[in-house]
């Protein structure tokens, strides 16, 4: 038999004015299992709480219902009071008499009746409550940062500077990311590499940062505070410890005509290469897909011969490194659409139609033309250049509905850079809208239009075709008479859409984080949790979440780092125990879970794993679902999905909710007498 206490609060006049609290308390006293029922002016006040505590002790209550304000307001208060008097905090429930009753109804019998019913529902619920205990998980104070672009670099440095260990993993041979490829940055036009490279060096030298380049994420297991990650260190074929970075190998390598990724295909590199002169680490790797030694079974070997330190190691193999980390920052960056995505603009066959990143390399002093404006087909200086903004972005016909955000700004920058280099040249920009929200951004665009005389045309380009060595750009000017216009251009730059990396879906699946329809990683809440993911302990930084410019990426990198530091400030994590659990029953069933794992596909937190139930001799009896208490956030979607009702959620169990619902009714006649 339960021993339930009911405490009805008047909340001054707030409840008392419309609800007959005294009568409610009397009626409650008559409920089955209620052994104590009182009303009081202010339950949340010190004397009120003392009343509750004393009653718990004196009447040996095994559950209480506080009928007062919204549980969203004072549930912690009363749970704490219960806990302090020896009653498990989760044996306290609140009936919402104020927000849901007294404030919204007039003084009337029906209001009092409702108040009593609300209490009754919770009395029945609390009878089924079970003591619950907070979940504690230890924290490994090492962070993994995935991606060595500016967001990852910023994140790694901030975490390292707050005194924690960081493992920074980069898939390319050098950190730096896309920012290293940029010529100048908007809106200040300062040199991108000049501001980036010092930070890259800082990463390399930081005592708390372990830098692993040319490596990829293999697998993530575990949960917040206790991840186990596997990293595949791709074979560099060069022993980093021995290599002195002299560069003899790269100059001697006979295979030199490999399109250079760093130069966005505008230049060439050798099969053994350092991506760019300021690379960190500044040690070469062998590109096995192009190296003669690998393609022709051990021939060539020139680099090995010229290496003064004997660092070349053709036999090196991929290595799987395992680390235990407490948090992960995903900063895997973005990609941009190639020009071959646009049949109407020449589907990649016109050499002089290039994308924004290629233009960056053309404009960069360290690029293939050493910063001179030379068009790819014949190296001539383009006299007329057309920039097309929103190439793919905001175009549902192309399947990309979103705004790529950075294009308006970098297109203005490109036009400006072009005009600064080719004073006599004519630059056109076709745009839909100019989105220049940001500090000094609008001013920057105005400068391009007004000071640098860039012709901005509001309209879209329908077609580009080549004729007599010129690119005929057919567009429309929607502001001037909406007339079709044709420009004979020497070069066209498409501000192609920013898209997620081609492998972002796989990476997200490895990390068990969700991603949106465009394969950008999904944040936990679009407004209030823009840095966290749905998987506790995994944060996002930079353009892997959505298109972002440099300041935003850096801010988010720092934000992610601060989230990690907060996490690492505790030795043990404490979580509310309101999570789901798969039931256990007597053998030979062990659990009514039948192992269909349909629940796995519905869990937003990927918290459901496989548990093997085995005999003592190790033979498998059955596989059942197990909810990882570290990952479960307690939404209960799996609970309602499970056909055999093998999953239940603490705090909202089948029994509790069922009792609440059944308590409400079946008593229509009784009210006539109330």
């Amino acid at each position: 038999m339960s021993r339930i206490g009911v405490f009805v609060c008047h909340c001054g006049e707030n409840i008392g004015a419309t609800v007959d609290c005294k009568k409610v308390a009397e009626l409650s006293a008559g409920l089955h299992g209620v052994v104590h029922s009182v009303d009081y002016k202010y339950m949340c006040s010190d004397p009120g709480q003392t009343m509750i505590k004393d009653a718990i002790k004196e009447k040996k209550l095994d559950g209480i219902v506080v009928a007062a304000c919204s549980p969203r307001m004072h549930e912690p208060t009363f749970r704490k009071a219960a806990q302090e008097s020896g009653l498990n905090a989760f044996l306290c429930e609140m009936a919402n008499l104020r927000e849901h009753c007294s404030w919204v109804h007039l003084k009337d019998d029906s209001t009092t009746e409702k108040a009593f019913e609300l209490i009754h529902m919770l009395v029945e619920k609390v009878k089924k409550n079970k003591p619950l205990f907070p979940i504690k998980v230890p924290v490994t104070k090492t962070a993994l940062v995935l991606g060595g672009g500016i967001a990852g670099i910023q994140s790694a440095l901030d975490i390292a500077n707050s005194g924690h260990q960081v493992i920074l993993v980069e898939k390319d041979p050098s950190i730096g990311g896309h920012m290293a490829q940029l010529s100048e940055t908007f809106p200040t036009l300062d040199c991108s590499q000049c501001i980036l490279t010092p930070r890259m060096v800082e990463v390399a030298q930081h005592p708390n940062i372990k830098l692993i380049t040319y490596a990829e994420l293999e697998a993530v297991e575990g949960f917040v505070g206790n991840f186990k990650v596997k990293i595949r260190q791709k074979a560099k074929s060069v022993d980093e410890k021995i290599c002195n970075g002299c560069g003899d190998c790269t100059t001697k390598c006979p295979i030199k005509k490999i399109p250079d990724e760093f130069n966005a295909g505008m230049g060439y590199r050798a099969a053994i290469y350092v991506p760019f002169p300021q690379a960190v680490p500044n040690k070469p790797v062998i590109d096995r897909a192009h190296c003669t030694w690998y393609l022709k079974g051990g021939k060539c070997g020139l680099c090995e011969k010229v290496c003064p330190t004997g660092a070349i190691n053709y036999q090196q193999e991929d290595e799987i490194l395992t680390f235990e980390v407490g948090a992960i920052v995903a900063a895997t960056g973005f990609d941009i659409k190639g020009t071959d995505f646009f049949p109407e603009y020449g589907y990649g066959k016109y050499k002089n139609v290039i994308n924004g990143l290629q233009f960056e390399r053309l404009a960069s002093a360290s690029g293939p033309t050493l910063g001179e404006m030379k068009r790819p087909s014949d190296g001539k200086t383009p006299e007329t250049i057309v920039f097309i903004a929103c190439a793919g972005s905001r175009d549902s016909a192309k399947g990309i509905d979103y705004c790529s955000k950075i294009c308006c700004m970098y297109t203005a920058k490109h036009a400006m850079l072009y005009k600064h280099k080719v004073h006599s040249g004519k630059a056109y920009v076709f745009y839909m809208d100019i989105r220049a929200g940001g500090k000094n951004y609008e001013e920057f665009v105005r400068r391009a239009i007004e000071e640098d005389d860039v012709s901005y045309v509001r309209g879209r380009v329908s077609k580009i075709y080549e004729r007599n060595g010129k690119l005929i750009v057919k567009g429309v000017d929607t502001l001037l008479n909406s007339m079709p216009m044709e420009i004979e251009a020497d070069m066209v730059v498409l501000a192609t859409a920013v898209v997620a990396n081609h492998d972002s879906e796989q990476i997200a699946q490895k990390m068990h984080i969700s991603y949106d329809a465009y394969h950008f990683f999904a944040e936990a809440h679009p407004k209030l949790k823009p840095v966290e993911t749905n998987t506790a302990g995994i944060m996002l930084a930079g353009a892997c979440q959505a298109p972002k410019d440099i300041p935003e990426s850096v801010s988010q990198g720092s934000g992610a780092a601060s989230k990690v530091s907060c996490l690492f400030s505790q030795d043990v994590l404490t979580r509310e125990p309101l999570i789901a659990e798969v039931n256990r029953s007597a053998p030979p069933l062990y659990s009514t879970c039948v192992g269909c794992f349909l629940c796995q596909s519905v869990c937003p937190y990927m918290a459901i794993e496989t548990e093997e139930i085995r005999m003592r001799d190790g033979s498998l009896i059955k596989e059942v679902a197990r909810i990882n208490p570290g990952l479960c956030q307690g939404c209960g979607t799996c609970v309602a999905l499970c056909r055999s009702k093998s999953i239940d959620i603490h705090g909202y169990t089948h029994q509790q909710i069922f009792s609440e619902v059944v308590a409400l009714f079946n008593r229509r006649e009784e009210y006539e007498t109330v």
Binding site: H32, E124, A586, P588, V662, N666, R667
Partner: protein, 330 residues
């Protein structure tokens, strides 16, 4: 011995209906026959081989209320359930089903009389009919039951063309003849066999010796076809297993007696999780043993009447007469 013209038989039924008796008789629905309460004579369809379900629910409903209770603060008030006492006449009961009903009353009433069933039996008159249609699933004759037997009936009719040949078996039967004495005429004793169906004998009952076959592998082989539902038990005229269910809420509740089946895995499941009849073969063996061994030991009667219903309804194609024939050979 008596006889009654069919036209008079109709008048008699209508008169019984008018006098307030509940009449239950075979009725044709969606191509199959079911015992159902009738409101008029023309609903009756005696031209049938076998109803889908047996008439056992007349004594033993699929869900029976045993009592109700109400919570009054901290007291519990018990409310007894009254079994209706109005007269019930079950018409068109075949000898196999009548035989089964007599088994059921033995089972429920012999040692500890079950009030609910006692009351129903007292108020029920069983009007038997000689079986005229049988099919390849019928095997009553293999169990020494004749398709014209009168066991379990109160009054028995045999269709002899324009008239029914009538035998009164019990006092209730005499009562009917007395009440409608103008309609009944005296008759010679006839050989009912001429008017009845004659299902062939499918196996030699004497040769079925179960006692030493408890551990035989035959149970597994036979039960592979069984899907483990309760269709056989629920359609069986003699299956009498039940489960007690309390349906309740915080204010009141009701105690129900519901049909159960030994074919269900849950039937013998212990709270500990252990199930002494873990495999379907164990359950199938129990079913056969119950009918041909245990009920003989307990009540002296084989509790299978060869009606063939379980064969007809089985979704897995289990055929008890074939299985018994197989048992007779080993």
């Amino acid at each position: 011995m008596k006889k009654i013209k069919k036209s008079n038989f109709e008048k008699m039924v209508n008169s019984l209906l008018q006098s307030g008796s509940t009449i239950i008789a075979p009725v044709l629905k969606k191509g199959k026959h079911y015992f159902s309460r009738i409101e008029s004579f023309d609903k009756i369809s005696l031209d049938y081989c076998q109803t889908v379900l047996s008439p056992k629910a007349v004594y033993f409903p699929s869900t029976d209320s045993l009592m109700r209770y109400e919570n009054e603060h901290n007291n519990v008030k018990i409310i007894e359930v009254e079994v209706p006492k109005n007269p019930v006449i079950v018409l068109g009961v075949k000898p196999c089903d009548a035989y089964a009903l007599s088994y059921l009353s033995e089972f429920f009433l012999k040692e500890n009389s079950d009030t609910y069933i006692q009351v129903r039996k007292e108020n029920t008159t069983i009007v038997g009919f000689t079986c005229t249609h049988s099919d390849d699933k019928c095997f009553c004759t293999s169990l020494n039951i004749n398709p014209f037997d009168t066991k379990g009936t109160d009054i028995h009719f045999t269709d002899i063309g324009e008239e029914y040949y009538v035998e009164s078996i019990t006092e209730k039967g005499n009562e009917i003849i007395k009440n409608f004495n103008t309609m009944f005429e005296d008759s010679q004793t006839i050989d009912k066999k001429e008017y009845s169906s004659n299902p062939p004998i499918k196996f030699d009952l004497e040769k079925i010796r179960l006692t030493d076959k408890f551990e035989s592998s035959v149970w597994l082989d036979q039960s592979l076809l069984c899907l483990g539902c309760g269709a056989c038990a629920y359609s069986c005229p003699t299956c009498s297993c039940f489960d007690i269910q309390d349906e309740s809420n915080p204010y009141s509740g009701e105690r129900l007696r519901c049909w159960d089946s030994c074919g269900f895995g849950l039937f013998t499941l212990h709270a500990s999780g252990h199930n002494p009849r873990h495999d379907q073969s164990n359950r199938w063996r129990n079913r056969v043993f119950h009918k041909f061994e245990y009920s003989v030991k307990n009540l002296g009667i084989i509790s299978c009447v060869g009606c063939g219903r379980c064969i007809r309804v089985c979704p897995g194609g289990m055929n008890i007469s074939e299985h018994l024939a197989e048992l007779a050979t080993i």
